[in-house]
């Protein structure tokens, strides 16, 4: 069967599941007792197994299968969870990643997995495997759609269930309501299922068990079980679970139950009809396949809300939309000229609709920064091990959204900075202890929105940056002169470490510090229109703060007019606007300045700087836009303000590079081009 069309989906989904495994494993390391996490990992591994077996990647399937066995044993308390197991599982996930990567790159996904498989087998054998299997059999019955392991028993089990019904087991429909303020709903669900598992067998649950465990339900769910217990006993037992508000146990008739069965059978059957090619595999472990299909189909229900779209298509959409905006501008113009009421209304309506459309298109390009952040916990864990340091990575604001183009570029610089923080920032546990700090260092990765920018901060509580060391190094490398060095502020000194050819670590390590990293970081961030600054306190830690534009393509500007030309000034640089009387302008050293809120602000006449042809005479009042770059301010003198506007930032193309004080252009509603002023170039 031709699998190519599914390959892309397979790779994407595999990556997602592996990512989920990674995240959950790290979570598990922190809370080794939390079985819910093991369940999560198990589920990911299981889906992965099913998919890879279907796609014919034997090694991948073999390894996930073995991993699944171990996880299953853990969650059934057959194996005591310990860090060694975690390491082996991590190793297995590494192997899986390598294989998926190889498949993504067009390889066959083959890899020698015997090492990982062997280790996993050993772990599993640490306890009686027979017991583990027997136990999992019950587990499979409890939460059918997910627990598919060892389901060779499943079919057998299924008939047993039917027989047991005929043998006079009572069937109950149990509605459990959790308290409104219940915090760990998944945990409660688990406990309830554990009780149900003891008193009987679960046939069906609504919502599905995996949805329950993901807390995708309000406060109430319904479970159908068969049991020989009395109705009241069941209720009492369930009420013992804390945070349970109410339990309703209703016996239901066999007829109703049969209907359930029929439905259930249909669910399991349909996927098989769709994929007859799987018949062969199914002979080996038929029930397993069924389960697989069920998991994927239920997973699809939840993921139905998103689709993957190639970013190029979004770009095309965006370009087409921009043209539409321009035509809209023309239509507006025409409708004004013709002064036809009906045309007016239609055009106005269209304007509103296109406005909404614009928001949607822009938002479509926004991606949570999480997609970059989520690979860091794993990286930090590994690095900390390599460096023999104890490091806790905290991630704040992973849901912050950034334009896709920025997201694509920001990954590598962040990797550099985090490596840097781990290697040079955080000290070894011994040193930290000696300095009276907790042994475990903390690295905080934080993202947040502020105005038109996104800030990403990497903060460590390590040794901080030594001004003297940096200066000495910079001097010896000839990056600064002594005179310049003496007058530099601390922050300026810290920024020297971003200069090329700089490395303060006495010892070059594998992790970072060949002196090539940080200057690349700086140039990448600057190429994205962002800035990076460093704060540091010796002995207490450093903060690397990256400021990025929210999006590379849309910015808010203040449109201004200078004579007959229009210039856009990015709102992000503007402090405020003012109207200044000519008489208020002072002269200081050949520089016209104004006293603005107690500060002396130099005036820059854009008319002169941009050599604008003069057609009208000067007014008595100047319109001034106060802009800033860092701590410095300047007043840009324009003729008039047109207003604030969201515009699409466009480059001037390859031919016009390095135009002074112009960072790009935008197309206005009337189809004309307005240039965007680069305030940073104007303030020295």
């Amino acid at each position: 069967m031709d699998m190519n069309q599914y390959l892309e989906v397979f790779i994407e989904e595999s990556k997602e599941h592996l990512q989920a495994c990674n995240e959950q494993l790290l979570e598990l390391e922190k809370n080794p007792e939390n079985i819910a996490i093991v369940n999560e990992i198990f589920r990911s591994a299981h889906t992965l197994k099913g998919m890879s077996a279907t796609m014919g990647y034997e090694d991948l399937a073999k390894l996930t299968h073995q991993m699944e066995n171990v996880l299953d044993a853990i969650r059934n308390h057959k194996i005591k969870f310990n860090p060694e197991i975690l390491d082996v599982v991590f190793l297995a996930v590494d192997d899986l990643e390598a294989m998926v990567q190889s498949i993504a790159e067009g390889g066959d996904g083959k890899r020698d997995v015997s090492d990982a498989v062997g280790k996993l087998l050993l772990i599993e054998k640490g306890e009686s495997p027979v017991l583990a299997e027997a136990k999992s059999e019950v587990a499979a019955a409890v939460a059918e759609p997910l627990h598919a392991a060892k389901s060779q028993y499943d079919e057998f089990e299924y008939t047993v269930l039917q027989q047991s019904k005929e043998q006079g087991f009572e069937t109950f429909e149990i509605t459990v309501a959790l308290r409104e303020d219940c915090l760990l709903k998944a945990a409660r669900v688990f406990m309830i299922f554990e009780i149900l598992e003891k008193i009987g067998e679960v046939i069906k649950s609504n919502p599905a068990v995996d949805q329950l465990e993901e807390e995708q339900f309000d406060h109430e769910f319904t479970v159908t079980i068969v049991s020989k217990e009395m109705k009241d006993d069941i209720q009492k037992k369930l009420m013992k679970v804390s945070e349970v508000d109410k339990v309703d146990v209703n016996p239901i008739s066999l007829e109703e139950l049969r209907q359930f069965e029929v439905e259930e059978a249909e669910i399991t059957q349909t996927p098989e009809i769709e994929t007859p090619a799987k018949e062969v595999e199914k002979n080996v472990d038929a029930p397993n396949k069924k389960e697989d299909k069920k998991t994927t189909s239920s997973a699809k229900q939840t993921s139905n809300k998103t689709i993957r779209v190639n970013i190029e298509r979004l770009d095309i959409l965006m370009n087409l939309f921009e043209e539409l905006v321009i035509d809209r501008g023309r239509l507006e113009q025409i409708s004004r000229d013709l002064n036809n009421q009906e045309l007016h209304e239609t055009v106005e309506r269209m304007s509103r609709v296109t406005g909404d459309l614009q928001n949607i298109i822009l938002n479509m390009r926004m991606v949570p920064v999480e997609t970059v952040f989520n690979r860091f916990p794993r990286m930090v864990r590994q690095l900390a091990r390599d460096l023999n340091k104890k490091i806790n990575l905290e991630i704040i604001g992973a849901e912050t959204e950034l334009d896709r183009t920025v997201i694509d570029e920001i990954g590598d610089p962040l990797v550099h900075l985090i490596r840097n923080a781990l290697d040079h920032g955080v000290e070894t546990p011994e040193v930290r202890k000696a300095n009276g700090k907790p042994e475990e260092g903390t690295v905080v990765l934080k993202a947040y929105h502020s105005g038109n920018h996104v800030f990403i901060e990497i903060e460590d509580d390590g040794a901080g940056i030594s001004r003297d060391k940096v200066l000495a190094k910079a001097l010896s490398k000839g990056i600064v002169t002594e005179q310049a060095a003496a007058s530099m502020t601390d922050n300026q000194v810290y920024e020297l470490i971003l200069a090329s050819g700089f490395s303060t670590a006495e010892k070059i390590s594998d992790v970072s510090g060949r002196g090539v990293g940080l200057d690349v970081v700086k140039s990448t961030i600057e190429s994205l229109g962002g800035t990076i600054s460093i704060e540091s306190r010796l002995g207490q830690g450093s903060i690397f703060s990256i400021q990025l534009p929210l999006t590379l393509s849309i910015i808010s500007v203040m449109l201004t007019e200078i004579q007959n030309e229009k210039f856009a000034i990015p709102l992000s640089s503007i402090i405020e606007t003012a109207i200044v009387n000519k008489a208020e302008i002072l002269n200081a050293h050949n520089q016209r300045v104004i006293d603005f809120r107690g500060k002396v602000v130099p005036l820059l006449f854009l008319k002169d700087i941009f050599e604008v042809p003069v057609v009208t005479e000067d007014d008595e009042f100047y319109s001034v836009v106060i802009v800033r770059k860092g701590d410095k301010m300047a007043g840009l003198v324009v003729d008039s303000f047109i207003g604030q506007q969201e515009v699409v930032l466009k480059s001037l193309g390859n031919y016009l590079t390095n135009v002074f004080a112009i960072s790009g252009a935008t197309i206005l509603g009337n189809g004309q081009v307005a240039l965007i002023v680069d305030c940073n170039a104007l303030i020295k």
């Binding site: 921009e322 941009f610 604008v612 390859n654 189809g671 240039l675």
Partner: protein, 155 residues
Amino acid sequence: MADTLAADIKLIVFQLKDKEYAIPVNHVQGIEKVEHITRVPRTEKFIKGVINLRGVITPIIDLRSRFGIEEENFTDSTRVIIVSVNDLEVGFIVDLANDVIDIPVASIEPPPEVVGVKEVEYINGVAKIGKRLLILIDLEMILDTESFSSSRSEG
């Protein structure tokens, strides 16, 4: 261009002042009427600015000015020829663009060596078709940003 294998070469013919010039059609993206040009400050004199060409910001070069011919106001027949060479897309302002012709490659001769004519550096060759003399311009030379400095000192 001269080494094109085909025996014929298709050219777009345009006028500057009283001379006829030509560029190979495969470099031409389109011919537009002159619309609002936004001046870009502090650039070369012959760069008239940028226009919005269907959503793409396109720089506009006045070929008269580029060749050192005195500039004139735009007329109804003034056109912008959009050309694209090695990733660069620019528009040329010309007096008139009115012809597409095929000429045999063999009819292209090397540029005459006349001293003191500025445009000579941008000429690839000349072609004589009947009474008409077509000047084939070297797009790469015209768009070569390196030559800015020299042209500025001369201009």
